[in-house]
Every structure is written in C-alpha cells, then in structure tokens.
C-alpha cells in the first residue's frame, strides 16, 4: 500500500423553516437533499458494512442542517413530501406508457429509501451519521455555526462565537468534541488559526492554494498537511481528484448515460390531473422524478429515456477510472516523498445524488473496488492520517476560499456588499447589549437569545451566494433583509423595554436554530 485517498463530504443547507405556511417551496431544498443525497449515501454506506467492505470517509454536518434534521415539523413535512412522490409514481405507473419501467424504478427507490429512513434510522437521518461514526467508518466534523464567511466578519469575538457554537452543536448531537471543522466556504484568513486552536480544533481543510501559497510554501504541496504555529493542521484540496468528479463538463457527472437533472416529469403533466402533487396555489415545482438521461448536447425536448442498466455500467467504469488515476498519482508521489501521500478530495455532499444522481453508487463502487482490487491505495479519514503521520511541516496557511476565483468575490461584490456594514453594525450592537442589560428578566433573556439567533442567521454565507449566482435571489434577499431587520427590531424593543412578545413567540417557532443558545456566549472576556 503506497498512499491514501481521503474523501471529504461537506453537508450543508441554509436554515429554512416556515411554520407560518403549510407548503413552502424553499423547504424542499432540505427534502430533496435528504431523499436524493443523504439517504442514498447512508444506505450505500450501510450496504458496504453489511458486505464487510471496509471504507473510511470524513463528512461535515453543519449546524443549520443538523438543526433542521432534528426539527419535528420539518421531518413531518419530509414524510409528507416522500409519501406524495410515492403516490404520484403509483398513479403514473397505472397509466402505463414508455416510461413505465423508469417510474417503477423510482417508486421502488423511494419506498426502499423511506423504509430505510423509518426503520433503520428510526426517522432520524442523524442516527445514520452517529452509527457510522461510532463504528469508525465515518468521521463527522463540525462547521462554523451558520456557515459564515469568517474572513468577512470584522468582530473577532463573533468569529469565535461561530466556532464555539459549531463545537457546542456537535457536542449536543455526538456527546463529544469534534476533531475537525469545515470552515464555511473553506474561507480562511488570520486569526482563524488562533481561534481554532483556542477552542481545541485539531484540523480543517482549505482549497489547494491555501497550502500552495502558505508561508513557507510546503515541501509536499497538498500531499501532506501542514501545521500552523498555533498547532492547527490544514489539509489541502487536490485539484485533479476533485475536478474529475465535480466538473459537470469535464467530469463523470456529465456522461450522456447519466440521469438528466434539468428535466423533471412534473412539467410534462397536466396540472389539473396532478393537482394533489403540486403547490396548493397551483404552481409546479420539481417532483424529483426525472426519467431521462443527459443524452448529449441537445435541448430538453430531445432527451431520451434513462436506462438504469447503462448508467450502472458507466458507474462501474468511472469508479474504476477514478481508482486507476489515484493509484498512478499516489504511486508516483510515494517514490518521491518520505511518507505515504494523502490525496484529499472534498465535495459538497449534495453533489452526490441530488446533482449527480448516480453519485452515491459511484462512491459505493469506488470503496468496493479499492478494497478488492487495489494494492496501492487505501481510504482514510483525516484524523487517522494524523495518527499515522503526526510530524508535519510548520507553515502559515494562505488567505483563501474554495469559491470561484479562490478568494471572497463570490460573497463580496457589487450586488452583495450592502450586507457587510449591516453585519458589522448588528454585531457591534450584540456585543454591546449583552454587557448593557444587567440581570435581565425572563422575557429579556428570551429576546437576547433571539438577537443572537437573528445575528447568526444573518451571517449565513448562503444568502450572498444565492444573490451572486442568481438562484432564488428574491428569497435570499428577503432572508438577509429579514434577519438584519428582525435583529434591529428586537434590539430597540429591549432597549425601550417594550418587547413585542407575540413577535418573539413567532420568531422562536420559525428561527428555532440552536435551542440551547445562551446570549452570554457573546460576552467579551475581560
């Protein structure tokens, strides 16, 4: 065995919960991710275990996502979401037609995954993460509290709170401290290393140039981690190993035999006929039932029917190709390094299954192939690599992110820069008010805790990202605006001693992230 492959999956969605509406389209982001990514991945990892195939993987579970996965209302709605899809496939199957085989496939898939969710995971996706973590197959790491871009946060104390709450949220779920953290958008700048060290984080992951441009430039580039003066370890993303999977154009997911993401069956059906399955207001949204293949560079009307067997053949070929490329890479590196090289391949979890439908099967096949056929490569978690190689080059990582361009322009540009003066201002108010209000009464305490939640939700990187990329722009702007305004409203009410309890009750139901949050976390140390 010559070296290691570390697959790292970053699982994140913004906190979206709207109890005030019976159906809220953006809540489907979570339901789609559960049904298309988290459940198929966990299902396949459980399969590997049943087949005695050893595998190692590192996954982040961000606090907004874990809070949603533990929310009773959202999970009730998830069940409704799945059941309605099962019903829809059943109805469509009855009608027959050329797509019948694919519809049967979808119905069986939904039923299998829902059964796995209800029975094996006891209706809680996090149980799957816990089980695999306990068994040592999966290493779960945390993330900054609301996936904030820490280098764009001016107040050091609030950068610290983002890290502290990320750790506390992990403790509440896993009953222990996380070893690693995923920094929102892999965004790094000093003094983050100091902060991670202060709160006991052992390692994080940066994009490749975070290591290539470190001071001094690391001898082994990205094939061995570096350690900062503060004692925090930084792993670097391998560009080649990532691109092959991540790129829709050049990577595997663009293969013509794979399922087409952009053609959903719901848009071809008569609204009146499928009334039960669309929004009560009458508009359609993705059902997740997508029965065509990419086919080629053709319009959506020219897409051919999906052939599951053919797609499975391609998964087999691509998993083999990925393993072969990593073997060549690792074999060469092992001759010129004084240690076994590590290839770190981080991805958004939702790439596997939601975007690239066959992604969870690709990972299943890859782990299986590596175990059965490779004498050169083994999979490993990031902390296991540190156990084996604790001697690391001392170097200060470079300012970087994994966003387009490699720095912060995705979140800081002409269309989003209005956000940051507000974040600075409400941050300053938060740090001030926790010292100003001495001995608050119960309702003031609730209001102060809510201030903390609104501030943290306003800091989510997701709103700026969506505005920049032009997806769900009006929702993102509304959320960004709402959290800033809600903060200012409650802040003024606390100062004027006229807290609107009805509004506070409402916010506690809606923005219910971090139920354990205590506003004292924002108190500056003296």
């Amino acid at each position: 065995m010559r070296g290691y492959l570390a697959i790292v999956l970053h699982s994140h969605l913004p906190f979206v919960k709207h109890p005030e509406e019976e159906f809220f389209i953006e809540e489907n982001w979570l339901f789609e991710a559960i049904l298309e990514s988290y459940l198929p991945l966990l299902y396949n990892f459980y399969r590997l275990k049943k087949e005695d195939i050893p595998f190692k993987i590192t996954m982040s579970l961000t606090p907004p996502l874990s809070n949603m996965l533990l929310d009773a209302l959202l999970m009730d709605r998830f069940k409704r979401y799945v059941n309605s899809r099962i019903e829809l496939t059943k109805e469509l199957i009855k009608e027959g037609g050329s797509a019948k085989e694919n519809l049967i496939f979808y119905r069986a898939r939904f039923e299998t995954l829902f059964n796995f969710f209800e029975n094996e995971l006891k209706g809680n996706v996090i149980n799957g993460f816990k089980k695999l973590e306990q068994d040592g197959d999966l290493e779960v790491i945390t993330c900054s509290a609301t996936h904030g871009i820490l280098p764009l946060e001016v107040h050091r104390k609030i950068q610290e709170v983002q890290v502290q709450l990320g750790i506390e949220n992990y403790r509440q779920i896993f009953g222990k401290d996380p070893k690693g953290i995923w920094l929102g958008e892999c965004a790094y700048a000093p003094p983050i290393s100091q902060i991670l060290s202060k709160y006991g984080i052992k390692y994080t992951i940066l994009d490749a140039h975070g290591l290539f441009n470190a001071k001094p430039a690391p001898l082994y580039g990205i094939h061995a981690p570096i350690v900062s003066e503060d004692g925090v370890v930084f792993f670097g993303r391998d560009p080649e190993a990532s691109k092959q999977v991540w790129s829709a154009k050049e990577g595997y997911p663009g293969d013509f035999n794979y399922r087409e993401f952009y053609k959903d069956i719901v848009y071809e059906l008569d609204s009146e006929k499928i009334k039960k399955y669309i929004h009560p207001a009458g508009f359609k949204f993705d059902s997740g039932i997508k029965i065509h293949r990419i086919t080629g560079h053709v319009g959506l009307d020219k897409k051919e029917l999906y052939n599951r067997n053919k797609a499975e053949e391609m998964v087999e070929i691509h998993a083999g190709n990925y393993m072969f490329n990593r073997e060549r890479q690792i074999e060469y590196l092992s001759h010129i390094m004084d240690r076994k090289p590590i290839v770190v391949a981080p991805f958004d979890t939702e790439l596997f299954g939601h975007w690239w439908f066959e992604g969870p099967d690709f990972l299943y096949k890859l782990f299986k192939k590596i175990h059965k056929d490779s004498s050169l490569v083994k999979t490993i978690t990031l902390s296991q690599y540190l156990e084996e190689y604790p001697v690391l080059q001392v170097s200060s990582p470079a300012i970087s992110s994994w966003g387009d361009g490699g720095y912060f322009k995705v979140w800081l540009n002409d269309s989003t820069d209005w956000i940051y003066p507000h974040l600075y201002t409400i941050g300053k108010k938060m740090l001030g008010i926790v010292n100003k209000i001495k001995n608050p009464n119960e309702i003031q305490k609730r209001a102060l805790n809510m201030l903390g939640r609104e501030l943290l939700l306003a800091e989510s990187s997701d709103w700026a990202f969506l505005i920049t990329v032009g997806t769900a722009v009006s929702y993102a702007k509304e959320r960004q605006t709402f959290h800033i305004n809600a903060f200012n409203k409650i802040y003024n009410e606390i100062l004027n001693n006229n807290i609107d309890e009805t509004f506070l009750d409402y916010l506690e139901q809606r923005d219910s992230i971090f139920p354990f949050l205590n506003y004292n976390i924002f108190t500056e140390e003296r």
């Binding site: 001094p216 430039a217 350690v227 001697v391």
Partner: protein
C-alpha cells in the same frame, strides 16, 4: 372558518401549535377552530410586520462606522458612514503595514469603495477632515491582510503535533516534488478561473 372545518383535528392541533395556543391537545375540533380564529388577528399583524421586515432595508446602517474587508489579491472593500458632522468632504487615508500610502477625497457622510492595494500587506484606513489646516482623524478601521498569490520560500521545519517537538524529516527528492507541485498549482488555477 369553513376552510378550518375541512381540516382534521390533528392538522388543527398543528396549526394551533404555530399560533402558540395552550392546552391545544385537550381541545375538541370546534374549540380548536374557535381558538385559532381568535389567535389569527395578531398573526395577521405579524404577517404585515414580517412583510415589512423582509422587504425594506436601506443601504445605510444609520450608525457611524468605517470597515475594511479583504476581497481578492490586491483589493479590499471599504465602507463608511459618519453621523453628526457638518463637513461634506472628508479624506480617506490608506495605510499598508502601518505606513501611509495614499489618500482619497470622499463624501464624508456615506461611501463604499473597492480599493487597489498591495498584496500581502496589512491594510487599514482612516477617515478624517481638514480643520484649520490640520487633519483630524474621525474614524479608524479594523485591519486586514490583503490576499496574495505570491509564493514564499523559507526554512522547512517540521513539528510533531503529539509531542510539540521540532523534528527533522527526510526529503527524498525535492526537485521532483517541486515539479509535481507546480503541475498541480497550474491545474488548481485553471479550475479556479474556469467559468463552470
């Protein structure tokens, strides 16, 4: 009312929970409907409040501040607001590694700008006004390090993260490693700047 009548008791309990209705689990269907109806009025007010809160936000914070943020190699973002000053024009002074580099005349009350600065320097800015021939500093910003694409060579030291001791490590082929790293840097740059 009619719309609520159509719902099952279980669904009404869920709605009652949203409205914060106490003892909802013990209520009969008609009691639930009455309680929800009563609770609706303030909720309608809430909706109006929410609508307002999610739609209206001025670019100005109405709080005096001066902040600088890192954007990308060679660029920082500066945003300021000054309340309660009569002067219309101010001066923004840019410091790199604590040395004054250049100054720009600006509107004093509010402004935003992307400023070109030298990579890898510590940058902060000051905002002030000329008064009686003297410069009066009104605000000082936070300090940021400007992102860089430069590479820095230096001593290669190794540390054991378990024992914290410095250690010497063997290098097998520094030249070949360099070639690999250069190739990967090229790929990484191509990916970063490709428009996918």
């Amino acid at each position: 009312m009619e719309e609520l009548q159509k719902l099952k008791r279980k669904e009404l309990i869920r709605i009652a929970k949203i409205y914060g209705i106490k003892n909802r689990n013990k209520m009969k269907k008609n009691e639930l409907i009455r309680a929800i109806k009563k609770a609706r009025k303030p909720i309608e007010e809430l909706r109006k409040t929410e609508e307002k809160l999610k739609r209206e936000l001025s670019k100005k914070t109405e709080e005096t501040h001066l902040i600088v943020l890192p954007k990308e190699p060679g660029y920082v973002y500066v945003n300021w607001e000054v309340k309660g000053k009569e002067e219309k024009v101010g001066t923004l002074i840019v410091f790199e590694d604590d040395k004054e580099k250049f100054s720009i005349p600006v509107n004093l009350d509010y402004g935003r700008s992307y400023i070109h600065v030298e990579e890898d320097k510590k940058v902060k800015v000051e905002l002030g006004v000329e008064k009686n021939g003297k410069f009066e500093t009104l605000l000082e910003s936070n300090e940021v390090i400007v992102p860089t694409t430069k590479k820095t060579e230096g001593r290669k030291e190794f540390r054991d993260i378990k024992t914290f001791k410095m250690r010497k490590e063997g290098i097998i082929s520094e030249e070949e490693i360099k070639k690999v790293v250069e190739g990967e840097e090229k790929t990484a740059k191509e990916i970063k700047y490709s428009k996918e």
